[in-house]
C-alpha cells in the first residue's frame, strides 16, 4: 500500500463521517417527531408513521439506495449520489430512532406528566422541561447504539458511486491484489469513529449526572 492508498481510505472516512453525521442530524429529530405523533395518537398520522417505520425497517439499505437513485427518476425526481445517499441513511436511521424515542415515551412516568398538568404548565413547556430531558437521558445509549450501526451501514451507499471507507479499501485491494492491509486499516478507522461516538455519549452522560448532582 502506498501513502496515496492510505490517504484515499482516510478520505473515504471523511465521506463516511460526514454522511453519517448529516443523516443523524436529520434522522434523530425526525424520529422524535414521528415518535411524538405515535405517542399522541394523532388520527391518521399515527397509522402513517407506523407504516413508514414498518416499511423502512424491512428495506435493506443497499436496496433503499438503489431504489432512491435509480427508480425515483422514473417519477421525475433525479437526485445526485450524495443527496441520494444521505436520504437513504436518513430514512433508514429515522425509522429506528422513532422506535427508540417511542419506547422512552412509553416508559415515561405518567404521574410526572399529570403533576406538570396540575401546575398548569402549557403543552410546550411540559414537553421541554419535563418530558424531553428525561427521554433524552433514557434514549441516549440506544440512540448512540443506532448511530454506530448507521456508520457501519453506510457502505451501502457505495453502490451509488460514493467512495466511503469500505469502497476505498476495496479499490486499493483490487489494485494491489492484497486486500488484507486496506481492510485492516479500514477496520481501524471504523473503530476510531465508533469510539468517538461512544466517548461523546460518556461525556454527555457525565455532564448530565453532574448537572443533576449540583441542582
Amino acid at each position: 500500500m502506498t501513502a496515496h492508498d492510505y490517504l484515499s481510505i482516510v478520505h473515504g472516512a471523511l465521506a463516511t463521517v460526514s454522511m453519517s453525521l448529516v443523516s443523524i442530524l436529520f434522522g434523530v429529530p425526525i424520529g422524535l417527531g414521528l415518535a411524538l405523533i405515535r405517542w399522541s395518537r394523532l388520527p391518521f398520522l399515527d397509522q402513517a408513521a407506523a407504516v413508514y417505520v414498518s416499511i423502512i425497517r424491512t428495506c435493506p439499505s443497499v436496496t433503499l439506495a438503489l431504489l432512491i437513485y435509480f427508480a425515483l427518476p422514473e417519477v421525475g425526481i433525479s437526485l445526485d449520489p450524495v443527496p441520494a445517499g444521505i436520504l437513504t441513511l436518513t430514512l433508514s436511521t429515522s425509522a429506528f430512532d422513532t422506535e427508540i424515542w417511542r419506547s422512552a415515551l412509553i416508559n415515561f412516568p405518567r404521574d410526572q406528566y399529570d403533576a406538570a398538568l396540575s401546575f398548569g404548565m402549557r403543552r410546550g413547556l411540559r414537553f421541554r422541561h419535563v418530558v424531553l430531558p428525561q427521554i433524552v437521558h433514557g434514549s441516549l445509549p440506544a440512540l448512540v447504539n443506532e448511530m454506530t450501526l448507521l456508520v457501519k451501514a453506510s457502505p451501502a451507499v457505495a453502490v451509488l458511486g460514493i467512495v466511503e471507507i469500505t469502497r476505498a479499501a476495496i479499490r486499493v485491494g483490487a489494485r494491489t491484489y492484497d486486500p488484507l492491509p486496506p481492510f485492516i486499516f479500514a477496520l481501524v478507522l471504523y473503530s476510531l469513529i465508533v469510539f468517538a461516538f461512544v466517548k461523546t455519549q460518556r461525556v454527555i452522560e457525565r455532564r448530565v449526572a453532574q448537572a443533576g448532582a449540583s441542582q
Binding site: 502506498t2 438503489l66 435509480f70 457505495a158 453502490v159 451509488l160 485491494g173 483490487a174
Partner: protein, 292 residues
C-alpha cells in the same frame, strides 16, 4: 460462442471472462418497482439525438475490476477506460464518466441513469434480450489458476480438489458445469466449491493453501500472475469462450451503431489491439463485428 472458438487461432484462444451474474437481485426488484410506479415512462437514457443535443454521453465504469477498470492514485484507468478515451476522440460529443461498483452498473443502464456501461460485461444469453451490446471489445474464457508449486497439471486433476470462485459470477456457473462434466466422465468431481464475495479474497486463500485452485477469466488470472510472480500459475480452460462488450439500453440502436463504428475504427488502426496487449498481455484479433 462456438463460432468464436473456431474463429480464433489456437494461440489466441485465451479469452477472459467477467463476473457475470451478480446482475443484482436488487436490480430486478428495482425494475419491478420502477415499472409499478411509473408504468411506461419516457426513457431517460438519451437517444443519439438527445445525447448530441445535451453535448455529452454519460458512461458508467467500474472501480475494482482490474485490468478492465480500476482506480490508481485516484484516477480511473484500465483497458476499458483507455479504450473509451480512444473512441472519445472521434465521437461528436463529450464523455462524462462515472465510476460506480458493479452492483449499480447494469441497473443504471436499464433505468437510463447512464447511456452506456463501458465495462467488461459478459454477453450471456440471459442478458442479450435485456441490453443493446456493442461489438466485442475482448473475449473471455474461464480458466483455473493454482499455486505455482501445485501438482495440478490438467483440468481433470481438479477431481477431488477444493476450488474457489466469486459468488454469483458466470465463472462460478462455469465451474459448476465443469464439475458436472467431471462427474459425467466417471470422476469424483470437485470436492468442494467455495464462493467468495470478491476475487482478491479467493486469491488470498489460494496463496495460503485453503484452496487448490481458483477459477476466473483468463485475462484476470494472467494479470494476477503477472502481479504476484512465483505465487500463482495459470491452468487450463474449464469453459468455452464468451464475448465481452459494452452494454447500452435495449433499443438504443443509433447509439450502438455509433459506438460500434468507433470501436471498429480502433480495430482498423490497431489501437484496440495495442491496448489489449498492454492490459491483457494477449490480443483478440479475430473477433466478429457483432456480439450476437
Amino acid at each position: 460462442m462456438s463460432l468464436t472458438f473456431k474463429l480464433m487461432r489456437p494461440s489466441t484462444i485465451v479469452p477472459l471472462s467477467r463476473r457475470a451474474a451478480l446482475l443484482p437481485i436488487s436490480a430486478i426488484a428495482l425494475l419491478a418497482v420502477a415499472g409499478l410506479v411509473a408504468g411506461p415512462s419516457p426513457a431517460r437514457a438519451g437517444s443519439l439525438s438527445e445525447i448530441k443535443a445535451r453535448g455529452y454521453m454519460t458512461v458508467a465504469t467500474e472501480d475494482d475490476f482490474r485490468p478492465f477498470e480500476f482506480v490508481e492514485n485516484g484516477v480511473a484507468t484500465g483497458y476499458d477506460t483507455e479504450l473509451l478515451h480512444e473512441i472519445g476522440k472521434s465521437l461528436p460529443f463529450k464523455i462524462q464518466q462515472t465510476i460506480i461498483p458493479w452492483a449499480g452498473i447494469l441497473p443504471g443502464v436499464t433505468t437510463g441513469k447512464y447511456d452506456i456501461a463501458a465495462t467488461g460485461v459478459l454477453v450471456t444469453d440471459v442478458r442479450k434480450p435485456a441490453f443493446e451490446f456493442s461489438s466485442p471489445v475482448a473475449v473471455s474464457t474461464t480458466y483455473y489458476a493454482t499455486q505455482a508449486k501445485s501438482a495440478i497439471k490438467s483440468a481433470s486433476d481438479l477431481n477431488g480438489k477444493t476450488v474457489g470462485a466469486q459468488a454469483g459470477s458466470a465463472m462460478l456457473a462455469n465451474l459448476k458445469s465443469f464439475d458436472a462434466e467431471l462427474k459425467a466422465k466417471g470422476g469424483p468431481g470437485i470436492a468442494k466449491i467455495v464462493e467468495y464475495p470478491s476475487n482478491p479474497e479467493a486469491y488470498q486463500d489460494l496463496a495460503i493453501g485453503r484452496l487448490d485452485a481458483v477459477v476466473n477469466t483468463e485475462i484476470n488470472l494472467r494479470t494476477l500472475i503477472k502481479e504476484r510472480p512465483g505465487v500463482f500459475a495459470l491452468g487450463q480452460p474449464v469453459a468455452k469462450p464468451v464475448f465481452i462488450a459494452w452494454a447500452m439500453q435495449k433499443g438504443n440502436k443509433e447509439l450502438a451503431k455509433l459506438i460500434d463504428d468507433a470501436l471498429m475504427a480502433t480495430r482498423k488502426n490497431g489501437k484496440m489491439y495495442e491496448l489489449q496487449k498492454k492490459w491483457f498481455d494477449t490480443t483478440f484479433e479475430d473477433m466478429p463485428a457483432t456480439s450476437d
